[in-house]
């Protein structure tokens, strides 16, 4: 039984495009963000609406390839393509854009993107294991705060920051609760539906309303699960998806995994747990800027070197979600994730005791058959053991 609430989530990206436009007409400012390192608390505290600009669709890629090399990650090309073709309502609505120096392709793309929108690039430290890293990142936060204040003509005060921290933490907790329904075996929600539900948070204009909807969905799923209903048969191999971000439009690997007989029970990538696991410290005695900086620096992304947090998180999730196999999705030409894949492979082999496969692909449909063979063989292997 598919939750009724899913209907609402399916249409949210389109519906909210209108809401954003209305909000703009009523004087609200919109701030676009590309990555999980963008601190939405600062945007909320500035009274603006944070939206996600991460490109997850194939359509604008040919246009992007007129400027960018073909041999570049599809996420970068899609994000850039949306901007140059002016086909993303959220990019169009953005008054200001926050970007980060994550991977090389992205940070250089941002230099080109700066022609289209007022944009600020935060400088991320290379790693977190140096004494100055947090201080550096805190200064970057402060600089972003100044830029936002300048551009949006507001002042961001401590009180607003604390309220934004609480709101964002509640949103994270609600999403995490939603993801955790799939700890049940068999999982009550398909990986495809889970992706649809968690992806739209980036387009949730009214955070309070969004949190309410997520809570309702979670409640509905718990009821369904309580009746012992699941879209999967008992024994369906349970998959943990890790690696590059996935969103609506580039969900082909998730779809194939489930079509070929698997159940995607958890997303470790920054579409999922990676960004929800860590909350900002709400301690009123602390400087909120420092608490925010500290939390964002915990995100175990492959752009951070070294990145042991990802391995620890994978181990934890394999146990918590009773995972049978780990699928590491790498977008083509994403060097950080592709290279880190070798470390993940060894870690999963030596510490988790479950099979691992790395899949490298892009947003197009040209390799569907080859992917299907790999994925089916992987599922057959999980079923055999």
């Amino acid at each position: 039984m598919r939750p009724q609430m899913m209907k609402i989530f399916e249409n949210m990206r389109a519906d909210n495009a209108l809401t954003v436009q209305n909000a703009k007409d009523n004087g609200f400012k919109v701030v676009g963000m590309f990555c999980a390192f963008s601190p939405q608390e600062l945007v909320l505290a500035a009274g603006a609406l944070p939206v996600s600009l991460c490109g997850t669709r194939q359509e604008p890629i040919p246009a992007a390839e007129k400027t960018l090399p073909r041999n570049l990650c599809p996420l970068i090309k899609s994000s850039f393509g949306f901007a140059v073709t002016d086909t993303c309502p959220y990019f169009r609505a953005s008054d200001f854009v926050i970007a980060e120096t994550t991977c090389d392709g992205k940070k250089k793309m941002f230099e080109l993107l700066a022609q289209y929108k007022p944009l600020h690039v935060m400088h991320l430290p290379q790693g977190t294991d140096r004494s100055g890293a947090l201080q550096w990142w805190l200064e970057e936060m402060n600089l972003l705060k100044e830029r936002l204040e300048e551009h949006l003509e507001v002042t961001i005060n401590q009180e607003d920051l604390r309220a934004a921290i609480k709101l964002s933490n509640r949103e994270r907790q609600a999403l995490k609760n939603l993801l955790e329904v799939n700890r049940l075996d068999p999982a009550p929600l398909t990986g495809m539906d889970m992706l649809t539900a968690i992806w739209v948070r980036g387009f949730n204009v009214d955070k309070e309303e969004g949190i309410g909807l997520i809570e309702q969905l979670t409640e509905e799923i718990r009821n369904i699960a309580g009746q012992g209903i699941s879209p999967f048969a008992k024994g369906t191999p349970r998959i943990l998806l890790t690696g590059c971000p996935v969103g609506t439009g580039c969900e082909k690997v998730v779809r194939l995994l489930e079509e070929c007989g698997g159940s995607v029970v958890c997303y470790e990538n920054c579409t999922g747990i990676k960004t929800l696991e860590y909350l900002v410290d709400e301690d009123e005695q602390r400087d909120p800027m420092e608490a925010i900086a500290e939390r964002y620096l915990q995100i175990p992304c492959s752009c951070i070197s070294p990145n042991p947090g990802r391995l620890e998180l994978i181990s934890k999730l394999v146990a918590d979600y009773q995972v049978d196999g780990v699928v590491d999705l790498s977008w083509q030409a994403c060097h950080t994730y592709i290279v880190e894949g070798e470390l993940v492979r060894r870690h999963v082999r030596d510490n988790c005791g479950v099979p691992y496969i790395q899949l490298e692909t892009d947003y197009s449909t040209s390799d569907i058959e080859q992917l299907k063979t790999r994925i089916s063989a992987f599922i057959e292997m999980l079923n055999g053991s």
């Binding site: 099979p355 390799d367 058959e369 080859q370 063979t373 790999r374 089916s376 063989a377 057959e380 292997m381 055999g384 053991s385």
Partner: protein, 259 residues
């Protein structure tokens, strides 16, 4: 109990009919219709044995064309089928290296026919039969002669992995007057090392069964064995590993599609 495995590959379609310890097979070109080739292979098997569809407990389809054959009870990937078939063909084999016309794959098994890990190259022609064909043509030879032409020759270094660049590299080596046998040996080594690199990442295998169209080329086999430092064998029926594995799996886990 009769079971059938049909392996629809990109170049040839193989069928195996299994009954107890006995099995018979057919091989035919896939041509432009995988569906037709699969059906014909099946009917030929039935005809030879004087059986009808209802006598067969389970038919499993495999190979890239497995999705286009409607009469099967179930489709299983060539990875799983190859592993199972290899176990039957070569007792003790725990790795299968398959180099076909369009792709190559390495499968690590538990030594009892179950897949433990695998890797595939289906994106590029390097390290496939196609690569050998292109180079053979550039050298004015037939693929089937390559092994003999290269026998005993010291391989030259071929630096290009890409088929197109390797072809021009070969032409310029010929122009420099380098011996044809040495060039072919170099090409054999290049295919072998490409596939060996894939195998190394999967972990140690003990005994390797080499299958696929390229397994007929003893030059490639020798380099493969040398690169991997392990015994690498070819058996006469190795081309049938996929179809045989499918028939074996059909017997072990029979399913019947409603029709």
């Amino acid at each position: 109990m009769y079971t059938v495995g049909i392996d629809v590959g990109s170049v040839t379609t193989k069928g195996v009919l299994l009954n107890g310890r006995d099995w018979r097979h057919v091989i035919r070109p896939t041509g432009c219709s995988p569906r037709q080739a699969g059906l014909e292979a099946f009917e030929e098997l039935l005809g030879q044995a004087g059986l009808v569809r209802d006598d067969i407990s389970c038919v499993i389809g495999t190979g890239y064309g497995r999705i286009s054959i409607p009469f099967i009870d179930k489709a299983i990937t060539e990875i799983t089928c190859h592993a199972r078939g290899a176990h039957h063909l070569l007792e003790g084999a725990d790795m299968v290296v398959d180099i076909g016309g369009q792709d190559s794959k390495v499968i690590l098994t538990d030594g009892r026919g179950n897949v433990v890990n695998f890797a595939m190259n289906d994106k590029c022609a390097a390290g496939t039969g196609r690569f050998l064909e292109v180079i053979a043509a550039a050298l004015g030879a037939d693929v089937s002669e390559l092994a003999d032409l290269a026998r005993g020759a010291e391989p030259v270094q071929i630096s290009s992995m890409c088929t197109v660049f390797a072809e021009s590299e070969v032409i310029s080596l010929l122009a420099q007057g380098v011996d044809r046998g040495r060039i072919i040996a170099g090409i054999h080594r290049s295919v072998a090392s490409r596939v060996a690199a894939m195998a190394e990442r999967l972990g140690k295998g003990g005994l390797i069964l080499f299958t696929g169209g390229v397994a007929k080329n003893d030059g490639v086999r020798e380099f493969l064995a040398r690169e991997l430092g392990r015994e690498t064998l070819v058996v006469p029926e190795s081309q049938l590993a996929g179809a045989l594995g499918a028939a074996l799996l059909a017997r072990e886990k029979p399913v019947r599609k409603e029709r």
